[in-house]
């Protein structure tokens, strides 16, 4: 994660149409944002395209950033995640109209659960809320990780984890409840 302290200033200058600040903002954040998009799309070309769109969006909308709503990095990650999710789902719809969906679905299912879950666990450790690991069941961790890092919807998660849809939804719901409790337990209440 890039250093946050300089990002609000850079973003404020970008809002004033400072191109040099925009490049510095890009250099400071692009690798993290590219990683976010790449994890969801798992296709370099599409992730690259999303990254370009995201920074065009950031340039045009920097003035709309509201510090009260979160850090600049959270704001930018959200732009990239939303666009990546849109592109992922548009691509899936396109594939669904052809016969390629089978291969794609199998690729997703093959290694779907392992790497995202590890990422989630490492993040919780870094956030010093390791106790969350006990509060969250393995299935809840997997479900949350697939949703957050891979942009999966409930039906995808159910397929990837070989569970009924209702069960997958329950894992996500209870996983989020547990995560909130964990964060509140260490004094993080959101905003």
């Amino acid at each position: 994660m890039p250093m946050e302290e300089s990002l609000p200033e850079l973003l404020a200058r970008v809002a004033l149409r400072d191109r040099r600040a925009f490049e510095r903002l890009y250099r400071a954040t692009c690798a993290h944002l590219f990683s976010v998009s790449l994890r969801i799309l798992r296709n370099e070309s599409r992730a690259d395209e999303v990254l370009q769109e995201a920074y065009v969006n950031i340039w045009h909308n920097a003035a709309g950033y509201n510090a009260a709503a979160g850090t600049p990095m959270t704001w930018m990650i959200n732009i990239v995640r939303n666009r990546s999710i849109d592109v992922l789902r548009a691509h899936k719809s396109e594939l669904a109209a052809t016969s390629e969906i089978g291969d794609e679905a199998m690729n997703v299912a093959a290694d779907a659960a392992v790497e995202p879950q590890r990422l989630l666990e490492d993040s919780l450790i870094k956030a010093k809320i390791n106790e969350c690991m006990q509060a969250l069941s393995s299935a809840q961790r997997q479900a949350l990780a697939l949703a957050y890092y891979r942009g999966m919807v409930h039906t995808d998660i159910a397929i990837a984890l070989n569970a009924p849809l209702g069960t997958a939804k329950g894992w996500v719901r209870r996983g989020l409840d547990q995560l909130r409790s964990c964060l509140e337990g260490v004094g993080v209440t959101g905003l």
Binding site: M1, E23, Y26, C30, A31, H32, F34, S35, V36, L38, D48, E49, L51, Q52, E53, Y55, V56, W59, H60, N61, A63, G64, A69, G70, T71, M73, T74, I77, N78, R81, D86, V87, R89, A90, E94, L119, L120, D122, S123, L124, K126, A127, I129, L144, A145, A147, Y148, Y149, G151, M152, V153, H154, I157, V172, L176, L179, L183, V188, G190, L191
Partner: protein, 249 residues
């Protein structure tokens, strides 16, 4: 359905922030976020909570070409227009035919401008490489409310990128973005194409091939919106620019 009941709002906000809200429900909730401060705050709170999940993400450096592409999209210098010879009669015929319905003066002005632009710099509207035959493309010329040509948009028939070129600077109200829309000829709701710059040129990534997106589109238009539109959104304001979108092949 009342989205703003606290419990329901929190459920939707967290599913939206996590990404599991999908399809039309996602689009509907995005509109709610834009119109409701309570909804926007509920989402912000969940995004902040979920941001802890980004702490262990390993950065991946994108190629250097990504930055150059962003620069080109945002800051491409306006191209110089100089006469040169290139046969684009077919394209002009198509444009003339369409613009006749809008009135002779506007049509001639638009067509003449296209002659100059297309002959001078096919590359400037994304029609490279320079060849004697114009590649199969969708082309739009948007006029402002005074009938002045303001925006040229073009995309190869099977391309996934739309090139836009402002012919005069656009005065975008503070806090707004210039949103490009595609208007289907059957009168169906417009769909958003992307946000355009106030001046210069830009390349907008398309979610699909031009042929699929624009096959049934007869017009393009620009309105000023508070935020970039998402699929399912409709224009909230009158169009500042509008013009025909034609097939050139």
């Amino acid at each position: 359905m009342n989205y703003l009941r606290p419990e329901r709002l929190d459920n939707l906000a967290r599913e939206y922030a996590l990404g599991t809200l999908a399809g039309r429900a996602r689009r509907r909730f995005e509109r709610t976020i834009r119109s409701s401060r309570a909804a926007a705050m509920a989402v912000d709170i969940w995004r902040q909570r979920l941001s802890v999940l980004d702490l262990a993400v390993a950065p991946v450096q994108p190629p250097e070409s990504t930055w150059h592409s962003i620069e080109r999209r945002l800051f491409a210098a306006p191209d110089r227009v100089t006469p040169a010879a290139a046969p684009f009669g077919g394209a002009l015929q198509a444009l003339r035919g369409w613009f006749s319905a809008r009135g002779l003066a506007g049509a001639l002005l638009g067509a003449l401008l296209c002659v100059v632009l297309l002959r001078a710099q096919p590359g400037l509207i994304g029609l490279e490489p320079r060849v004697d035959v114009l590649p199969a493309s969708y082309v739009g010329l948007l006029l402002d409310n005074a009938g002045k040509p303001t925006l040229v948009a073009s995309s190869r028939r099977h391309g996934r990128q739309l090139t836009v070129k402002l012919l005069q600077p656009l005065v975008v109200p503070s806090g707004r973005v210039a949103q490009l829309w595609a208007l289907p000829k059957d009168g169906a709701a417009p769909f958003p194409v992307g946000v355009i710059p106030a001046q210069g040129s830009s390349h907008l990534a398309l979610p699909d091939e031009s042929e699929k997106l624009f096959f049934s589109v007869s017009q393009l238009a620009v309105s000023f919106e508070k935020a970039p539109a998402s699929a399912g959104d409709v224009p909230s304001d009158a169009y500042a620019l509008i013009g025909h979108c034609v097939k050139v092949w």
